[in-house]
Symmetry: C2
Subunit: 438 residues, 2 copies
Amino acid sequence: METVNQIIHAKWLITCEADNQVLENHALVIHDGKILNILPSDKATTLYQASDIQHFDHHTLMPGFINSHTHLAMNLFRGLADDLTLMNWLNHHIWPAEKKWVSDEFVYDASLFAMAEMIRSGTTCFNDMYFFLPATAKATHTAGIRGHIGITVIGFPTAWAQTSDEYIAKGLAFYNEYKNHDRITATFAPHAIYTETEETLIKIRDLAEEHDLKINMHVQETADEVNQSLAQTSKRPLRRLHDINFVSPRLIAVHMTQIDDEDLEIVAKTKPQIVHCPESNMKLASGSCPVQQFQSLGLNVALGTDGAASNNDLNMFGEMRSAAMHAKLITGNPESLAAKEVLTMATLNGAKALGIDHITGSLTVGKAADFIAINLDTIETLPLYHPTSQIVYAASRSQVTDVWVAGKQLMKNRQLLTLDEKELMKKARYWSQKIQET
Amino acid sequence: METVNQIIHAKWLITCEADNQVLENHALVIHDGKILNILPSDKATTLYQASDIQHFDHHTLMPGFINSHTHLAMNLFRGLADDLTLMNWLNHHIWPAEKKWVSDEFVYDASLFAMAEMIRSGTTCFNDMYFFLPATAKATHTAGIRGHIGITVIGFPTAWAQTSDEYIAKGLAFYNEYKNHDRITATFAPHAIYTETEETLIKIRDLAEEHDLKINMHVQETADEVNQSLAQTSKRPLRRLHDINFVSPRLIAVHMTQIDDEDLEIVAKTKPQIVHCPESNMKLASGSCPVQQFQSLGLNVALGTDGAASNNDLNMFGEMRSAAMHAKLITGNPESLAAKEVLTMATLNGAKALGIDHITGSLTVGKAADFIAINLDTIETLPLYHPTSQIVYAASRSQVTDVWVAGKQLMKNRQLLTLDEKELMKKARYWSQKIQET
């Protein structure tokens, strides 16, 4: 008998590997935060012993969700202003609130609050773009979640930095501080082409290559963005980015809702990572990301919720359903984006987009033990013919009962283990009171 | 002090009346199953006494949702087959399963199971179309929910009836048995124009008028339906229905995704009720119901989930979000179908569609006490700037804590009071086992 840290038995186990197997009555054997073995429960019992053995008789285990695009600290602006045009929303609600309130303290409290929401809905890894990166990192460290934190660069002053150079300098300092952290990774995050100069983008491109960092950017989110670019330069944003060798597998191109044949040619050649945020794109009426077309060109497409101020949650269950329904609507084909494909977008494809598919994104021997348990024995998810279909089309976030990152349990039977839920809610009420009074 | 049956205090109260007020610290005073008064909590305490007084300090009260189109008993086929074209799904999965299994016993068990799901997600009234109506009615009586049960008429034999005449005869017998029931109402439910003869539709039209019943029908759900009608008669379905005086406020036209200018002219004149089922229409790639256009013509548009075999749930929260996002996507305008309007579609407009807005659909003095409590003090719905927005864009069905129909409490702090959840789950497992073995 080999002694290991944990043995987690479950009725079902969805690997989210390429063949996306659904195994029955299997166990995950975990040691030193990594998956040591995946085998039938009866065999696991004869081969391994552990002090932490758990049984999930009505649950499926699966990799935690990877939310490939979000602005965590905007959680405290959730529901502040809805059903508005993007510019009205930004100019009259979000930007004034951000200007007034965003600080180190705000970002820490808001990000921690967002992490509680993510853990409660089965997300184990995020890709963030916001300000006050050390505050987000501190929260990530505390929460125990896995986080990619964007070195935001935006062409106007905020409380975090005044100039593009200052954004970059503070970002590099942050990168250096955290580069050996086992769960926290820096990425470059130029906000968008309309908020950056070409010169800054070239600088970012070179620094990203030097430090081998991903570049995370809003690209062709709206028709306005494309039209403005055409008016100013006679070129579409993707063409301009391609002309400075900015489009490559290193680029995580978020949204991509306004795509023509020239754009498709560029991405077919250059193979950037695509992040689809269907709910944000629908709610803000931004447009439709042509997921099927990107996939048929061999591109990797991941899934993100965007910030909770626009979406209005960090719920990957809702995002998966919306992605599936949206794809069927825009292609007119109900076979588009089947449940299995959507589940892969929400897990393994996220890891690929972030360049960490050797570490996480599927239940695979040798990868980190980043996984969740979902109770499928509820009124809402019975009968149970196909677990994958049930997770995408019928289950709710509240059916996630347990969450682990790198083998450490972050939620047990709906109780958060690293965060104080009551305290976080108190803080959220405190901030919203202040924000409402302005 | 006046003695009444119940006084229910809450932090917020959303009336869903025309002006859709959000009241703070108010109480619902209930007597004999009806709303006797709505007033500030402190005043209620001085004017009324009751043996049943409840306080909901972190909740909003609002009318229960009205699911204006569903096929309840299909709940036991939930997730049996997904991501397929409609005809593949019907021919190779649903119809064979229905042929083999649908019976009085099946419909009773499946409908009761569906009612548990509805109550758990805050739905207090449904509009059903299926077979074995007495079984559905028996379940409705037991569950304590409010139900409109369709006298389905379909041009082929099933286990329930062989001919259109038999469907109608059995339906009228059902109507006569239940016409004095205070929560159960019969409607006529010819399945669709392609499964009925004109002669039968005329018969239904006249019987519906004679007994003053609504007529509930799938209309122009898919392009195939319209094309088939054009090929056979050179007329679109709505034109054919209009030519036999079938389109009127009595008609509940479900889906309506394929709409041209001629169709708009017809409905502008004839004012049928429209039921929008966005998730089913997206998932089956049926098309898009032009909700905004219908509303601008002064039509009443309600919301339905469709059956759980296609959708795959009976969750009006998801349906509201999808309706809002779908509208913004297809109009390109983020101001389309704001949260407040969607909430009205899911409540008062449903009551209008079913012709019971004098009885239910809003929190109004004199109407039945059909209402729910939603806990908004959760990680997922904080901060709380606007309760209406939060319900539509951020809350989950699991935040519904309490449900009442006609003053009778059906769920208390997530516990069903009229149904045995464990027993229902056992039955669902029993049936799915049988269905899977075929």
